[in-house]
């Protein structure tokens, strides 16, 4: 059980789990499921002009154009027949189109990418790369007219208890080196920085990228904090990394890029860390689109009513509602939390103890922020109390004595601000 230490003076010190914490050294392969569901994040959730329909046959690795007009596409991860297409909504109002495929046991691979990828020129492969495992959209890093100047490869993980990336750095160091070359070629970026914990320095140095070793202390591997610590170039609150010409990619996605080019097939499997109720870690490999139920069954992890299922880690993951939810291209971990471990949120106001202020890595005045956010004053929160500087680590809620869901309020505030911003743009 996680607890504040008896001598609780100072900031919480939470360490990213290293690969030495994984149970068993092997990556377990999860047998392919008969039902694969692809979740495609679509800015508009309309089902009217879809180019796909129920009954269509698809091949593994095939690029599926989603709409009759427009560029949206996804990569099929199974061979079979589409049985259902529906709309789903996700975190903070994100809109998804979910496509269910009844999978055949034998994979037929699609060859289109092999043809396009032969000479490896960015223009040809760009229309295929938005669905690589380990990243939600690689194409945001490929800017043909105005390439980024730096790409940071994260050899650590997004959250505590996740070991997915670290495992890949250790097991696939040679593939990573090749991947870095492909990354340079497709993106046109010269400067590649590879961030790893001290234990993986040897492996990282094989990659040919500039290696930066950081202490695995949460949340130092978050993009905005890395920008400050490693590039000494903090991101202003209203901008993002790409505005400063910096891209952020996980080690897994780099390896996936290499697989795509070397094998001529779009990779369709994903490495995940499974965190069970006792916080034991298991690493598995599964098809993107495999339902969580099949993964948990294969590992014989029981879940019952009242437990919690999370995509991601304990600090910044996203809760899911059903075992039927499929794993996505950027799902690095599935965490199962027993109902006894679920801590209800508090109902009382802030007492100004200042724990959050001391814990905040971005130096936000969280005590003032929460007073405004609780009252829905999102614009004031952004203008006067730096709401948009938040790096989204969740430490404020973790230390809150009154158990106020501060992180939730912050994300809601950011979401509402983004909504008002986009409304103003459309009305202007």
């Amino acid at each position: 059980m996680i607890k504040k230490p008896f001598f609780g003076l100072g900031k919480p010190k939470l360490k990213y789990s290293g690969i030495e914490n994984i149970e068993g050294k092997d990556v377990k392969e999860i047998p392919p499921s008969t039902m694969i569901t692809l979740m495609h994040k679509s800015p508009n959730g309309e089902l009217g002009d879809l180019a796909l329909s129920i009954g269509d046959e698809v091949k593994t690795g095939q690029k599926l154009n989603l709409r009759k007009t427009g560029e949206e596409y996804l990569t099929s991860t199974a061979t079979g027949t589409i049985t259902d297409i529906s709309h789903a909504s996700g975190y903070a109002g994100q809109s998804f189109i979910s496509i269910s495929i009844e999978a055949k046991s034998k994979d037929l691979w699609d060859g289109e990418f092999e043809k396009a990828g032969k000479n490896g020129s960015p223009e040809n492969v760009l229309p295929f790369l938005s669905c690589l495992p380990g990243i939600s959209d690689l194409t945001s890093l490929i800017k043909i007219d105005n390439p980024l100047n730096t790409i940071i490869i994260n050899g650590l993980d997004q959250d505590l208890l996740i070991t997915t990336n670290q495992l890949i750095v250790r097991n696939e160091a040679d593939n990573l080196a090749e991947g870095v070359e492909f990354l340079k070629k497709t993106t046109g970026v010269k400067k590649i920085i590879f961030v790893v914990p001290p234990s993986l320095r040897m492996e990282a140095e094989k990659s040919g990228a500039e290696v930066k070793v950081i202490e695995p202390l949460y949340p130092d591997a978050t993009p905005r904090l890395l920008m400050k610590e490693i590039l000494d170039n903090p991101v202003p609150p209203s901008k993002n990394l790409e505005d400063l010409g910096v891209g952020f990619i996980s080690a897994e996605a780099v390896v996936a890029l290499r697989t795509a080019f070397v094998k001529g097939k779009m990779p369709v499997t994903k490495v995940l860390t499974i965190i069970d109720k006792d916080n034991r870690l298991t690493c598995i490999k599964a098809r993107i689109g495999t339902p969580v139920r099949d993964i948990l069954n294969a590992l014989s992890i029981d879940v019952s009513q009242g437990d919690r299922l999370v995509f991601g880690g304990p600090m910044s993951g996203q809760g899911i509602y059903s075992e039927d939810m499929p794993i996505l291209a950027d799902t690095d971990a599935i965490m199962v939390q027993d109902k006894d471990q679920v801590i209800p949120i508090g109902n009382d106001p802030c007492i100004n103890c200042g724990e959050c202020v001391r814990a905040c890595p971005a130096k936000l005045p969280v005590n003032m922020l929460i007073r405004l956010l609780e009252n829905g004053l999102h614009e004031e929160a952004a203008n006067e109390y730096d709401l948009l500087s938040c790096v989204e680590c969740g430490l404020c809620s973790y230390v809150c004595e009154m158990r106020i869901p501060i992180f939730h309020y912050i994300m809601l505030g950011k979401h509402e601000l983004a909504l008002t911003g986009s409304l103003e743009e459309t009305n202007a």
């Binding site: 996680i2 001598f7 609150p237 600090m315 809760g319 007492i351 130096k363």
Partner: protein
């Protein structure tokens, strides 16, 4: 859907360090116990009566206000008990029962609940009550008058009052050991210096109070008293005497550190503490009151929102990008 398990879902994070307000309150009560127990041992049943009445009526006032304001019952969080106990620690053992009841009313209802309950109070509730009692009933907090019928075998004169009326010559009547062990007349829970220091260090190490406030308050008192002493040692007592008498130690570890009325950023905490210490000695040495800690801390409580505006730049703020 049949066979569908219902999961608990919420926003991240899914871990918590399990700190809570009740744990904090109970730890403060625990840390205050050594000083209270010595007070009860010295003054006997009257002191026990004041402590028990104060804690219980503070909780009752809280409960009544919970019902009146139709809010969830909050006496379980221990905050009302802490207010009651601290109030008792500042009172002499002979305080009449009605003063205690009014005192806890002033602390819990006027000091805290009318501002919206916990977290809303701009001033330390206990000090609000003590300040009103001091101003309204002049003799009640005069320890020499209140404890006139006690003879506990040591020098039964309240040191700060003696200092005020007789000058620094009285300092020689008290040894440091006596001051630390509570061998002088005073309030129930604020004379046992050693106990308060041990309690305070315990709270600091557990992360329950902010060390910056306690230490800077003591530094403020020490430096100011030292400057006065250097300027005219015939007129002003030395810094150690000020550190170990009156409400100094209970103020540093239990009163100035109250969450809602004190700052949270590093520099503001230092300013808050040092200024409170400075004002305390100023009031003691040239002001009208015997002890200055109560009004000094209240003054700085008022300044708290302004002080807390001094804060570090957030990540990415104040950087110009071409």
């Amino acid at each position: 859907m049949p066979n569908q398990k219902l999961f608990v879902s919420s926003h991240a994070p899914y871990w918590h360090n399990r700190s809570s307000l009740s744990a904090k309150s109970y730890n403060i009560l625990l840390a205050a116990l050594p000083a209270v127990i010595l007070g009860i041992y010295q003054y006997g049943p009257p002191a026990l009566g004041v402590v028990a009445l104060s804690v219980s009526t503070a909780m009752i006032w809280e409960l009544i206000m919970n019902y009146v304001t139709k809010r969830p019952v909050s006496i379980g969080d221990g905050n009302a008990a802490v207010i009651g106990l601290l109030l008792a620690m500042l009172l002499p053992a002979t305080t009449p029962w009605w003063t205690v009841v009014i005192g806890t009313f002033l602390a819990v209802v006027v000091g805290k609940q009318i501002f919206g309950g916990i977290g809303g109070n701009p001033l330390n509730p206990t000090l609000v009550s003590i300040a009103i009692i001091t101003l309204s009933w002049k003799g009640l907090l005069d320890f020499d008058e209140a404890l006139v019928n006690f003879d506990l075998g040591f020098y039964m004169v309240y040191p700060l009052a003696a200092l005020k009326h007789l000058g620094p010559s009285v300092v020689s009547n008290y040894s440091v050991g006596e001051l630390l062990m509570g061998q002088y007349a005073g309030a129930i829970g604020s004379t046992f210096g050693l106990g308060l220091i041990i309690g305070g260090i315990y709270l600091i190490l557990r992360g329950m109070i902010r060390w910056e406030i306690s230490i800077s308050f003591l530094v403020g008192i020490f430096v100011t008293a030292l400057l006065f002493n250097i300027s005219d040692s015939e007129k002003y007592a030395g810094p150690l005497f000020h550190l170990l008498t009156g409400y100094t130690l209970i103020g540093a570890f239990f009163l100035a550190t109250e969450d809602s009325s004190s700052p949270v950023n590093f520099i503001p905490m230092l300013i808050y503490g040092v200024c409170a210490g400075f004002l305390t000695v100023l009031i003691r040495n040239i002001g009208a009151f015997v002890d200055g800690a109560v009004f000094a801390i209240l003054m700085m409580n008022v300044a708290n929102p302004l002080l807390d505006k001094i804060r570090p730049k957030a990540l990415g703020k104040g950087i110009k990008h071409a």
